[in-house]
């Protein structure tokens, strides 16, 4: 097996995730896409860990899974709050940054 096959897979998934984050209108979908990106990174970590014969790769993958879980929790809570306040979770309807 080549190192690159995993890395390339990770890269592709990451790009798809980026697209999803940027293009999807639904807040939940955006969060899902972020998960995708995080997972792509995880794959890289594990692959590199194997390549360099260190355990750190796996450890950090674990950490990322944990952080991702936390992020999803908070993210969904925010989406829920938005939905309650605005009855919509279409992110492009929010222009809070404009104020």
């Amino acid at each position: 097996m080549l190192l690159n096959q995993f890395l390339l897979l990770g890269a592709l998934l990451f790009a798809v995730g980026v697209y999803g984050v940027l293009a999807r209108r639904n807040g939940v979908m955006v969060l899902m896409s972020i998960e995708l990106m995080l997972n792509a990174v995880n794959l890289n970590l594990v692959a590199f860990g194997l390549q360099h014969d260190v355990v750190s790769g796996q450890v950090f993958a674990l950490f990322i899974i944990a952080v991702a879980a936390a992020e999803v929790g908070v993210g969904l809570a925010i989406v829920l709050l938005l939905y309650r306040n605005r009855k919509s979770i279409a992110v492009d309807e929010f222009d809070l940054m404009k104020g």
């Binding site: 992110v91 940054m97 404009k98």
Partner: protein, 728 residues
């Protein structure tokens, strides 16, 4: 004796201090009604210093001349035959004159020269280790201008204390008069070109402030803005010209530049041509030369004493002074010595002509004088253009006095005639205000160039310069000069007629101005008579055995150390040319008078008889005057020349100026609306979104939507990565 020449910085410093004192303490400590005393005192001190400086300078010239003569046998300086310390006084005029001619035209250094007094402090500013100095350059030309500026300024200060009394901004008025005096003095003793720019701009800003002195009224501020902006346009030329000179010689030092031009001659001809053209633009704006003269008549919106000081006697001659100061540059650039027509002479001559023509078309007495100033400045520039350096400076000197007198006279008239400057509301004032009348007439005669008033001598020298100045004559300029001489006499006679003759057409009772105004008038009038004596030609004095007093301006004011190097020569005086000049001026007066006389009609005969008693029986018939004037005088002069010039002035130049202003604003609006707010902002905004660019145009990027910013962020990241990975 040289102390004042070496410490000349004191001369502008004193009025500058006076400016600060008046501005900061004028209202509080000194009290409004006493500020003029501060100004007058300061200028008075400066006037005394200037006189001392003049005496010191003359002594210095005498010393250096005699010491050169003394050293003649020891040093290798080749002194022209017949000139020695022992015999110089005993020479007869002819020989003296011949000697001068030889000296100037010949090998250079043959005639004794006087070095200017340069005091400088290093490290004003510096670049790449080269220090640029700040300092003073005092030579004959500076001293001449010092005398003019301080004398006129002093008289105007005194005159103003009455004229501007009770003004809404008395304190500011005196503050700016002081500042102007300081700036002008700073300018004339500038040691380097940068200082010259500083002084040049500072007098401009004082002019701006004083034209707009009554800034509550819109026309005044418009005039002030016009003056400043027109001058700014010329300043482009000044900046560029100075930069070319610096680029060529790597120094701002005026004296060094003049010497280097003299030494390098035709090597630097092209650069000097470019510099001269650029600097001419500056002269055109500051000295009211065609086509940038239009601000000067508008500038009459300021108080009259200001017009006398700034817009007649001093600031507007800054351009002439600058040409004189950098004369080798222009001499080389325009090939003045060898051509028979050049840009400077043409501009000067043409300006003199149109200025004189325009003066006929004005009803506002100050505007007549303003156009007259334009015309006379043209005369000076023309003189410089034909190589008559001394004539130009001499005319500058005499003109300052009689023109200031005329302006102050106009102010006095307006003071009497209830603050109008419209000649149609004057008339008959000669009986009400005899002092003003007499001084005005004297100055008019001086301006017209009638023997033996000051203007006659200086005008004659200019014509002489055009007639036989350098290696080649300037025939066209001679014709211009002659025509202008005729016109000048004519329009000034018209002013006299309208203002002082006929019957009073204004309101109320005119009265003579108080002494504090008439005394300065008389001083100036006396100067208008005797100022010509400062540069009398030798043959005249020869007859009275005073030939030692001949050519004072030439002897003491000329910067011989570099004028010699460029080979400037002095033409021998011509009796017949003087006669022709005088005849032309007399003809101008006569023609104007003739038209009044010829059209004497039956109406108001008694009235006219009253005037006739005064001895001017041919000047009656006020009733048809306007009509006749329009039909005949204007028919022959105004229609072809003045009308055309006026039309051109109003419809072409002014229009261009106005349109240029409007155009700049319009294009500003256009660029702002379409390019800035349209194209550029939109492009930038569109980057953030890529879509939605149509309907919401401007507001694309400001969506505040997270995803758009995200796109931007990731896109940037991608670009950065591409640069990183592929390129580096």
């Amino acid at each position: 004796m040289d102390w004042i020449l070496e410490n000349a910085f004191l001369i502008p410093l004193i009025p500058a201090v006076s400016f600060l004192v008046i501005l900061l303490f004028g209202r509080s400590v000194i009290g409004v009604e006493r500020v003029h005393k501060v100004g007058i005192t300061a200028v008075g001190i400066v006037w005394v210093l200037s006189m001392i400086a003049a005496v010191s300078w003359i002594t210095r010239v005498e010393d250096s001349t005699s010491s050169k003569y003394d050293d003649a046998e020891h040093a290798q300086i080749a002194v022209t035959e017949g000139l020695s310390a022992s015999s110089a006084g005993g020479l007869d005029g002819e020989l003296h004159l011949a000697a001068e001619d030889d000296g100037y035209g010949g090998d250079g250094g043959g005639y004794a020269t006087t070095e200017p007094v340069i005091s400088e402090v290093d490290g004003w500013w510096s670049s790449s280790g080269v220090d640029f100095a700040v300092g003073t350059l005092v030579d004959g030309q500076t001293v001449l201008l010092l005398l003019v500026v301080t004398s006129i300024s002093l008289l105007v200060h005194i005159y103003s204390s009455e004229y501007v009394k009770g003004d809404r901004r008395f304190v500011h008025y005196y503050a700016f008069l002081s500042l102007f005096t300081a700036s002008m003095l700073f300018f004339v003793m500038a040691q380097n070109l940068v200082q010259m720019i500083v002084g040049w701009e500072l007098v401009g800003v004082c002019s701006f402030a004083l034209i707009g002195h009554w800034w509550e009224e819109r026309p005044n501020t418009d005039a002030a803005l016009k003056a400043f902006l027109t001058n700014r346009v010329g300043d482009i030329g000044l900046l560029v010209g100075v930069i070319i000179l610096f680029g060529e010689f790597q120094t701002f030092d005026i004296d060094a530049i003049n010497r280097m031009v003299g030494e390098m001659g035709s090597e630097v001809h092209f650069a000097m041509l470019m510099a001269s053209i650029a600097l001419m633009a500056a002269v055109c704006s500051k000295s009211g030369q065609f086509p940038l003269h239009t601000w000067l008549p508008d500038a009459m919106a300021g108080p009259t004493p200001v017009s006398a000081l700034i817009h007649a006697a001093t600031m507007v001659v800054a351009g002439v002074f600058m040409i004189g100061r950098l004369y080798p540059v222009f001499f080389e650039g325009f090939s003045i010595g060898t051509s028979s027509i050049n840009l400077m002479a043409s501009i000067g001559g043409f300006t003199a002509l149109i200025g004189a023509g325009l003066a006929f078309a004005q009803w506002d007495i100050k505007k007549v004088l303003a156009y007259s100033t334009v015309s006379q400045l043209g005369y000076m520039v023309m003189a410089l253009g034909v190589g008559a350096w001394t004539a130009a400076m001499f005319h500058l000197f005499t003109h300052a006095f009689f023109k200031a007198c005329l302006f102050l006279g106009a102010g006095s008239v307006s003071h009497a005639a209830h603050h109008t400057f419209d000649m149609r509301e004057m008339g008959g004032l000669r009986k009400h205000m005899p002092h003003t009348y007499k001084t005005f007439v004297i100055s008019t005669l001086a301006l017209a160039g009638i023997f033996p008033f000051a203007g006659f001598w200086s005008k004659d020298e200019i014509l002489l310069g055009a007639f036989a100045g350098q290696q080649s004559a300037y025939p066209l300029m001679l014709i211009f000069g002659c025509v202008v001489a005729l016109l000048t006499a004519a329009y000034m006679t018209r002013v006299i007629w309208y203002t002082f003759w006929g019957e009073y057409r204004g309101h109320g009772h005119p009265h003579e101005s108080p002494k504090v105004m008439t005394v300065p008038l008389w001083i100036l009038a006396v100067m208008a008579v005797v100022a010509g004596a400062f540069n009398l030609p030798t043959p005249v004095l020869e007859r009275v055995g005073l030939e030692g007093l001949a050519h004072l301006v030439q002897t003491y004011a000329e910067p011989t150390h570099y004028l010699n190097a460029i080979g400037l020569s002095h033409p021998p005086p011509s009796f017949w040319l003087a006669v022709v000049g005088l005849m032309l001026a007399l003809a101008g007066i006569a023609i104007t008078f003739m038209y009044f006389w010829r059209n004497a009609g039956p109406h108001g005969l008694t009235e006219r008889n009253r005037y006739a008693k005064a001895g001017y029986t041919f000047l009656e018939q006020k009733y048809y005057l306007d009509h006749l004037y329009t039909d005949i005088v204007v028919g022959s002069i105004k229609r072809p020349i003045a009308r055309a010039a006026n039309w051109f002035n109003d419809n072409v130049i002014d229009l261009v100026v106005n349109r240029a202003g409007e155009g700049a604003r319009d294009s500003g609006r256009w660029v702002y609306r379409w390019i800035d707010q349209g194209a550029i902002d939109n492009t930038v905004n569109a980057l953030g979104s890529g879509a939605d660019a149509g309907g919401q145009g401007l507001r694309v990027m400001q969506t505040g939507k997270v995803q758009n910013y995200g796109s931007l962020l990731f896109g940037t990241a991608a670009v950065v990565a591409i640069v990183f990975v592929i390129v580096l």
